[in-house]
């Protein structure tokens, strides 16, 4: 599903590498927890996995294709078709209702639109799956609580069953009970959709239910003395 080979990455104007990973794979449907302290390059790694950043050396492959071999527009299309993304916060268009936010990827990716079938229906079942009460489906995202917003974001990342879901500290804005509920929902929904999940966090307490946990500082052969 995802393969990293001999990756070296340096920020454009930096004189040294921040990431050096010889090998890293994620299998189809696998749920991987990547942890490390702040500034160890977690976001950079996610950028590389999603093809937003390109490595200086080596390659990152998604579904067997190297991001570097694709044009910018093809990378955009590839990402839209096969990757769902959840940010820490501010995932939603505030003026759009929850259901509208969930169906957004179907507007841009024909592949995911096709896989979702009826987008409205798919959104409804995903929103139900992540436990958003039906009365909140048609409220503007700005009126939802942070916990509700993150569940909508999870539903959106999963619509049209992308092969990979990338989550970048999606629970950092949630308190403990909400966080645990969210983790259950996300992992369950990913399993249902058959999507692989790459979840990065500094909070190792979340690692238990994952198939595999990886420490980024251990994986990275550049010693992290420079904050990214």
């Amino acid at each position: 599903m995802i393969e990293i080979r001999q990756l070296r990455y340096a920020w454009p104007r930096a004189g040294h590498d921040v990431l050096a990973i010889d090998a890293f794979e994620v299998a189809a449907g696998e749920r991987v927890f990547v942890h490390g302290p702040s500034g160890c390059g977690k976001s950079t790694l996610l950028g590389l996995l999603a093809g937003v950043l390109l490595p200086r050396e080596g390659e990152v492959r998604l579904l067997g294709r190297s991001w570097a071999s694709l044009s910018g527009a093809r990378r955009d299309a590839m990402r839209a078709d096969h990757v769902g993304y959840i940010f820490q916060q501010f995932n939603l268009l505030p003026w759009l209702d929850a259901a509208g936010n969930v169906t957004l990827p179907c507007r841009f990716s024909p592949t995911r639109r096709q896989r979702a079938g009826d987008a409205e229906h798919a959104a409804a079942s995903l929103l139900a799956r992540v436990g958003l009460a039906e009365r909140d489906w048609h409220r503007p995202a700005a009126q939802l609580s942070v916990g509700q917003q993150q569940r909508v974001a999870a539903a959106r990342a999963l619509i049209g069953a992308p092969e990979v879901v990338i989550a970048d500290e999606p629970t950092s804005a949630l308190d403990a009970p909400l966080r645990d509920a969210f983790m259950d929902l996300l992992l369950g929904a990913c399993r249902d959709a058959g999507s692989a999940l790459v979840f990065v966090s500094h909070d190792e307490r979340l690692a238990a239910p994952f198939d595999r946990r990886v420490s980024l500082p251990a994986l990275n052969r550049v010693r992290a003395e420079v904050p990214t």
Binding site: A73, L93, E169
Partner: protein
């Protein structure tokens, strides 16, 4: 893309506060540019419309510009006068329909005094062949009963607060010499003209005979010592004018204009000159055109400043959208989608603003036009946009559209990094 249109509309509606500010600022820039341009062209029009319907202006031989300056704008003085006999002689030419003689030289509190015949109020046209109209009262009668009657222009009446029945005295010459007053023969205001936006507004009109009457006991530019002719006695003298300053000529047909001009220029009795007012006004405009060039420069500066403001407003609006664009990029919107969104909105907002500005400028001209005409004598015309105005509208549209594209390109570079990094 049709899916995007709905999103664009809802996003725009969500930001309607900021967007309406942008629309208003574009509208104001447009309004400013169009009004300024309108003003510039109309000032020129006002100038060149100082006289119309007159085919030739006749005076003593001098330059055409000088003749127009004193005959129409009542500025400066004539070096020589025209004998009344010559005027009568020219009036007998078969192509001439009417002649209105004009006698200048005196003033009233800084305003020029024009001695003429009652026919002046019918024959003199200005602008687009508009006739003079009386706001109040009537013309002086032109006979002995009306010897001391005066008709004042709109600005004279407004500035000096004159109403009908007011007694006024005239000054000899430009009024610069103290004591050179025709104080013994006061005039009564019998008519106030409606505003025209021409020098007529700044003129006091009396009959030719009145000019003769007030100068009966004058010689060499001063009252003759020991001679005093009372106003009533003056009526007993022969008041038929011997000399006038200039004359307006109307022809039966425009075709004869060059023939009559030649006839006047070759008049044997004394050296005379006839000029075509339109041609002479254009020539005169070239002389005073420095002012127009200053306005043009000002117009260009207004354009640059308002377009820069427009770009600034559009760019400021983009900051508000960075997160939104990042979300869209993250859910799969390509750069072309983002660019399309920004361009569509930019085009729509600019178009709306420009249309609103154009509408406002029309309303402004319609609402304030008569007031400006009365107050400043500039006749603002409610007409189709000039080529220059279309050009300015096009510049506003292009600048607004370009301004909305520039951030689009910036947004494309930034939005993915924004969205995919946690500091978002």
């Amino acid at each position: 893309m049709s899916g995007l249109l709905g999103l664009a509309a809802r996003s725009a509606w969500n930001r309607r506060g900021t967007l309406s500010l942008t629309v208003v600022s574009i509208a104001l820039a447009t309004l400013l540019l169009l009004s300024f341009e309108r003003m510039r062209t109309d000032i020129r029009d006002s100038f060149t419309s100082a006289v119309s319907g007159t085919d030739l202006v006749v005076g003593a031989r001098t330059g055409p510009v000088q003749l127009m300056l004193y005959a129409i704008f009542h500025l400066g003085g004539a070096t020589n006068n025209v004998r009344m006999d010559s005027v009568r002689e020219i009036a007998r030419h078969r192509a001439v329909e009417w002649v209105v003689p004009m006698s200048l030289g005196d003033s009233h509190r800084g305003f020029a005094v024009l001695g003429t015949t009652p026919a002046y109020f019918e024959r003199f046209l200005y602008g687009d062949r508009q006739a003079l109209a009386f706001a109040r009262g009537r013309a002086f009668s032109g006979d002995l009963d009306g010897l001391y009657q005066a008709v004042v222009g709109a600005e004279v009446a407004r500035r000096l607060g004159y109403t009908l029945g007011r007694q006024v005295t005239l000054s000899h010459g430009s009024g610069a010499i103290p004591g050179a007053e025709h104080a013994d023969k006061p005039f009564t205001v019998v008519g106030i003209l409606a505003p025209t936006g021409t020098p007529v507004d700044r003129t006091v009109h009396v009959s030719l005979e009145a000019i003769e009457a007030i100068h009966l006991d004058w010689g060499g530019g001063a009252p003759m010592p020991g001679v005093h002719i009372a106003p009533e006695q003056a009526r007993k003298f022969d008041l038929a004018p011997k000399q006038v300053t200039a004359a307006l000529l109307g022809l039966k047909g425009r075709v004869a204009v060059f023939a009559v001009q030649r006839h006047v220029n070759e008049y044997a009795g004394e050296p005379l000159m006839a000029v075509l007012p339109g041609v002479a006004l254009d020539e005169l405009w070239d002389v005073v055109g420095v002012g127009e060039r200053a306005l043009l420069g000002l117009s260009a500066m207004v354009a640059v400043v308002s377009l820069a403001g427009l770009v600034a407003v559009v760019l400021a609006g983009l900051n508000e959208r960075r997160r939104e664009l990042a979300v869209l990029r993250a859910v799969g919107a390509g750069p072309r989608h983002v660019l399309w969104l920004l361009a569509a909105e930019g085009a729509l907002v600019t178009l709306l603003g420009a249309a609103l500005g154009a509408l406002l400028s029309v309303l402004l001209v319609a609402a304030a036009g008569p007031w400006i005409q009365a107050r400043f004598g500039i006749g603002l015309q409610l007409s189709a946009p000039t080529a220059a105005q279309w050009g300015l509208l096009g510049a506003v549209l292009a600048a607004g559209f370009a301004a909305s594209l520039v951030p689009g390109i910036r947004a494309y570079r930034l939005s993915l990094a924004d969205g995919l990094s946690p500091q978002g």
